[in-house]
Structures are given as structure tokens and as C-alpha cells.
């Protein structure tokens, strides 16, 4: 039995546990909002007015794809850096600082969203406290400034987390000159380079345009510009959700399979490709937006298709590693080796099934990325189908499965209900297939997304297979299975945390790759080079489209009024300025 992470690094384990706790709280709230939506929009069970649906929808998005995923990411990455460099951060107080900023930011954004359930939300910073602006917060939809302040703090915290891991690596490099970057740390650092670069768009959008506009410091903004800056960040963030799952697939899944990673260099190439390609493709989310020339959209589409390469490389490497593991366990034959895999292990099975859904969901992403066929599914239920297959399963199911392996090492407690955990991951797999299948089919006949009332009076969808009633029933069934699965996961985590009188049976050591870093050129570890190339690609991809948008409507647009409009905000701001002025004079 090897030493547990909590025994070797107790201070760092506390940070990881705090991050996971935040992640799981967000997951619980987001999952609850998910089942409410599934039952509401299918008209099977409604207990909220439809105008509250958008509060639920915003909460579902923000709590799950911002808080759940990114809190888990920072926890997982803190573990990965500490364990692979065999040292803690330079200053653990700095580590708690970024966690604290992220937690405060989430809290502020969270209460801004939840206040939307109140009949009369309180006035905060000059306007009603609410944020029914959905995950994308497209202007002229306007939230309370507190929501944007919360998002900004969360982003600052995430940036500082990245800086913390870089500082740790620099300290390690000084102690280990000439050594190659350990693979897990390499994955963390490249992910954060990608995040630093890609999040510039949303930081500018929030701090320069949207927050001042919500505080009525500026009178107007350019919605197309802020949307484009959002999607500058918005496609990169997809990989920010996904790369923690990749880290687990590349480093933990081979070990769980009974073998070793097939190729360390190939894993490094994959992460470098994400640094280079993930940001200059965001315009493919805006094929339907007027004001961006078709040529730029075509270039974005072409770049997007290149992103298939790292996904295919990953599929090859991870499956090869699993096959190696299965053969180490006595597996034989062309396909019979599959039977030798440890299907009883919920951590393995969850990750393997998540990978299977990822492959399928990836092909639906090709539809989204194709300019002409995107017009068919744009803003249709197809898109949430894709999103639930990718982030809702490839990422979420992998993170849950990874928790079954990691949480016992962080707590020193044995996982409670191993068989229930296996049932939980399989239930998620079945639930997501039921739900996404109905979403894809409904999306193909034009059923819209992001609405509480997808059925219009006097209009029937021409459903190709079955009926709308059947599609709705299937969506609600899938959503219910997912919700039950989420509850099971959270219950098992809670029981494991309190399972103090036990010894974990997990082995936390990770074997070296079959083909190690020594088989690759050192240039792969030249992070400055990859950052430089990525920066050039981003400038090439975005400089002209952004210049065109600004040339058309200006930096701040032309008298774009917010929705909902708040006249009180002006009054409070004027009063505040008068008050400050009086104090000064």
C-alpha cells in the first residue's frame, strides 16, 4: 500500500477537498435545475411560472458548466501538480487566496441568479438583484452588476490558480535543472496557457463593456462585439472543461485498465494542439450572426475541423493504453481483450463509458461546426444535445468516475457503496443516451432550445420518427435518470467523507508511460514557443473580424438600451456620485 495523498500533502489535500466540495455543491444545484427544466419544457410537471424558467436555465448553465467543472478542474490540477512535482506550492496562502476569490465570485454570481426566484428582488448597486441572462449573457440582456463582479472575481481566481501552478513549476525547475516537465504538470500548464489566452476575450467583454454598462458608467455597448468577445472565450472554455477529463483518461485510466499510457509524447502533442487551435475558432458559434463576413466564418470552420486531430489522437492513444492494460490482465484476441478490463471498478467503467459518449458526441460537433449544416440545427435542441453529450457526459461522468478513485486518497476513507457507484455511472450513461437522442431528433425538426414553451399554438412539428409526445417523454425519462444518478453520486461522496473508520483500498501510484518523454524532442516542453504561436494564430483569426465589427458600429454601439431596463440604476448612481462629490469637497 502506497502513502495516500492526504498523508503526504495534507495542506494541499485540504485545498483540493475545498475545491471539490464547492464543485459538488454547484453540481447538486445545477442537477436540480436540470430536472426542473426537463419536466417543465416537456410540460410533464410544472410548478414554476414560465418566466422563472430562465432563472432555472441560467442557474443550470452557470452552476454546472462554470462552477462544477472549473472548481473540479482547480482541485484536480492542484492534486496533479503537487503529486507529479512531488512538492507543494511556493506559498499555500496564495493557493487559498485564489480559491477564496473563486468561492466569493461564485457566491456573488450565484445569489444574483437565485434572487431571480423572488417576486420582489432587493435593490443592489442601483438595480434589482437578478441575472436571467443565461450562461452566455448576451447583451442587451442585462444582469445586476453583482453578477458580473462575481464572474470577474471567479476569473481572477482562476488566473491566479494558473499563476500559482506556474510558480510551483518554476521552483521545481530550479531544483531539477534539465528535467523534462512531468506529464501531469505539462497538461496543467498547457491548459492554463490556453485559458490565459482564451479568457482575454471575456475579461475585456465584462470589464470594459458589460460591467460599466450595467453600472451605467457607459450608456451603450456593441452587442455584436461583446458576443464575439464572449465566443473568443467560449470555444476555448469547452476544452477547459474537457482537458481535466483528458488528464484523467491519459494518466489514470491506463493504470485502472491494468497497464500504462501508450505514449507520453503523443499526449503532449495533443495538449499543444489544444493550445494552438482552441481559441481562433470561436466564430463558428456565430455562423448566424450578421455583421461578420462569411469569409471569416469559413476560416473559423476550417480551423475547427483541425481540432478533430487531437480528438482522434486521444481516441487512439487511450484505447491503445486500455488494450495494453487488458492484455496485461490476460486479455486475448482481436476484441476479446475487452472482457479482461476491470468493469467492476466504477472509476474505470465511468471513464470508459464517458469516452464512448465523447466519440459519438464529437461527430455531432462536426455537424455544429459545418457552416451549411449548422444553419439547420442552430439554436435548436440539437445543440444542448451535443453539449450534454460532451460536457454533460465526457467531462461530468469522467469527473464523477475520477472522484471514486481520488476522493478516498484525499480523505483517507474507503469509498462507500462501490457497487452502487458502478450502477450510478451506468445509469448516467443510459440516461444521457435517452435524453440526447430525443434532443438530437427534436433539434433536427427545428424544436428550439432556450425556451420554456417549445410548442407553438396552431403549429405541429413534422417529427421524422415517432411524435413530439414520444420525444418529450424520452427527454423527461433521460433527465430523470440523470438526476437520480447525480443524487446517487452526491450521496456516495457524502457517505465516503464521513466513512472515517475505514482504510482506502485504492493505489494512488501512476506507472510511467510505455513511450516516455525521452522519446520526444525537448521542443515539446518549450511553452513560450507554443504560447507565441498560439498568440499569432489568435491575432490572425480575430484581428480583422473585430476590426470590422468596431468599424461598423463603434466600440460602444449606438444607443443600445438594456433589457430589462432599470431607471432606478441611474438615480442611485447619480445619488452616489453626488454623495462622493460632497464628501470630497
Amino acid at each position: 500500500m502506497t502513502a495516500l495523498f492526504i498523508d503526504e500533502y495534507p495542506a494541499e489535500a485540504r485545498v483540493v477537498k475545498a475545491a471539490f466540495l464547492s464543485s459538488f455543491i454547484a453540481f447538486g444545484i445545477g442537477a436540480l435545475f436540470g430536472i426542473i427544466q426537463a419536466l417543465h419544457r416537456t410540460d410533464i410537471f410544472r410548478f414554476l411560472e414560465s418566466d422563472k424558467y430562465y432563472t432555472v436555465l441560467t442557474g443550470h448553465g452557470v452552476f454546472l458548466i462554470i462552477a462544477f467543472t472549473i472548481f473540479f478542474l482547480v482541485g484536480l490540477y492542484q492534486w496533479a501538480v503537487t503529486d507529479s512535482l512531488e512538492r507543494g506550492p511556493v506559498d499555500i496562502r496564495f493557493t487559498w487566496l485564489w480559491y477564496g476569490l473563486m468561492a466569493i465570485g461564485s457566491f456573488l454570481a450565484g445569489i444574483s441568479i437565485l434572487a431571480g426566484f423572488l417576486e420582489q428582488p432587493p435593490m443592489v448597486l442601483g438595480s434589482e438583484l437578478r441575472a436571467n441572462v443565461l450562461f452566455t449573457f448576451y447583451a442587451p440582456l442585462q444582469a445586476n452588476p453583482l453578477y458580473y463582479i462575481g464572474l470577474a472575481l471567479f476569473l481572477v481566481g482562476t488566473w491566479l490558480a494558473g499563476i500559482d501552478w506556474f510558480r510551483t513549476w518554476w521552483a521545481w525547475r530550479d531544483e531539477n535543472p534539465g528535467e523534462r516537465i512531468p506529464l501531469r504538470t505539462f497538461m496543467v500548464l498547457t491548459t492554463m496557457i490556453m485559458f490565459f489566452l482564451g479568457s482575454i476575450g471575456v475579461i475585456v467583454a465584462v470589464l470594459v463593456f458589460i460591467l460599466p454598462w450595467s453600472l451605467e458608467i457607459t450608456e451603450s455597448l456593441n452587442p455584436l462585439l461583446t458576443r464575439t468577445l464572449f465566443w473568443f472565450f467560449g470555444h476555448m472554455i469547452v476544452y477547459f472543461w474537457l482537458l481535466p477529463a483528458y488528464l484523467l483518461w491519459y494518466t489514470v485510466l491506463p493504470k485502472l485498465s491494468g497497464g500504462r499510457l501508450f505514449s507520453d509524447p503523443l499526449a503532449r502533442v495533443v495538449f499543444i494542439l489544444f493550445v494552438l487551435l482552441s481559441t481562433p475558432v470561436g466564430i463558428h458559434h456565430q455562423y448566424m450572426d450578421p455583421g461578420i463576413a462569411e469569409g471569416f466564418k469559413f476560416i473559423a470552420m476550417t480551423n475547427t475541423m483541425f481540432l478533430l486531430l487531437p480528438s482522434f489522437l486521444t481516441a487512439f492513444t487511450v484505447v491503445a493504453s486500455m488494450e495494453h492494460g487488458a492484455r496485461q490482465r490476460g486479455g486475448k484476441g482481436r476484441f476479446n481483450w475487452l472482457q479482461a478490463l476491470p468493469w467492476r471498478n466504477p472509476a474505470f467503467t465511468g471513464m470508459a463509458l464517458a469516452g464512448l459518449v465523447f466519440a459519438f458526441g464529437g461527430f455531432t460537433g462536426i455537424v455544429n461546426a459545418g457552416m451549411n449544416i449548422n444553419y439547420l440545427v442552430h439554436n435548436a435542441l440539437w445543440v444542448p444535445g451535443h453539449l450534454h453529450a460532451q460536457v454533460g457526459t465526457a467531462t461530468a461522468l469522467t469527473l464523477m468516475a475520477g472522484s471514486y478513485w481520488l476522493v478516498p486518497q484525499l480523505t483517507g476513507n474507503r469509498l462507500v457503496g462501490r457497487q452502487v457507484a458502478l450502477f450510478q455511472v451506468v445509469l448516467w450513461f443510459v440516461g444521457i443516451v435517452f435524453m440526447t437522442n430525443s434532443m438530437f431528433r427534436a433539434g433536427l425538426v427545428g424544436v428550439p432550445r432556450r425556451t420554456a414553451e417549445p410548442q407553438y399554438q396552431g403549429f405541429e412539428y413534422d417529427v421524422a420518427v415517432g411524435s413530439m409526445g414520444e420525444l418529450n417523454a424520452q427527454l423527461a425519462l433521460g433527465g430523470t435518470l440523470l438526476f437520480i444518478s447525480a443524487l446517487l453520486f452526491l450521496t456516495l461522496m457524502l457517505l465516503t467523507v464521513f466513512n472515517n473508520d475505514s482504510e482506502p483500498i485504492v493505489d494512488g501510484t501512476l506507472p510511467p508511460a510505455l513511450s516516455g518523454p525521452e522519446d520526444s524532442p525537448p521542443v515539446l516542453d518549450n511553452l513560450r514557443l507554443w504560447f507565441g504561436i498560439a498568440l499569432v494564430l489568435v491575432i490572425l483569426g480575430y484581428a480583422l473580424p473585430l476590426a470590422g465589427i468596431v468599424a461598423q458600429s463603434g466600440l460602444f454601439g449606438q444607443d443600445i438600451q438594456p433589457f430589462p431596463v432599470s431607471s432606478e440604476a441611474v438615480m442611485y448612481l447619480e445619488f452616489g456620485l453626488d454623495y462622493v462629490g460632497a464628501l470630497i469637497t
Binding site: Q339, W343, R344, T349, L353, L422, F423, V426, F429, V430, V433, F434, N437, R441, A464, V465, G466, E470, Q474
Partner: protein, 65 residues
Amino acid sequence: MHTSPAKLLILIALSLVILVEGRTVLAFFGIEIAPLETALIGVVIIAALVIWAVRPLRGSPSESE
């Protein structure tokens, strides 16, 4: 048993997935299966899998992994 409970669970899950997605694929070829028929096929497949799984191995009372 012919297989372990864990593998049986995975096989049942994969059967359901193939059933749901397969029904959609078949519709592209003009072969439409009603929801009730699909559910019945699912029950038959799951029952067959369970019977196969719990059937004792010939000449060996021990369970396989």
C-alpha cells in the same frame, strides 16, 4: 454464471443504447418501430441476457470473473 454481475450490467446498458439509437437509424431506412414494440424488444433482450448470464457453466459450478 456466464459472466459477472458488473459485465451483465454493462451489457444491459449497451443493449438499451443500441435499441434507442438503432431505432433512430432504422427509421432512416423507412423501418419504423413503435415505442411499445421497442420496449417489448428491450424486455426480451434484457431477459435473454439475464437468462444467459445466470445459466450455470457446463461442467463447472464455479463462477467466472
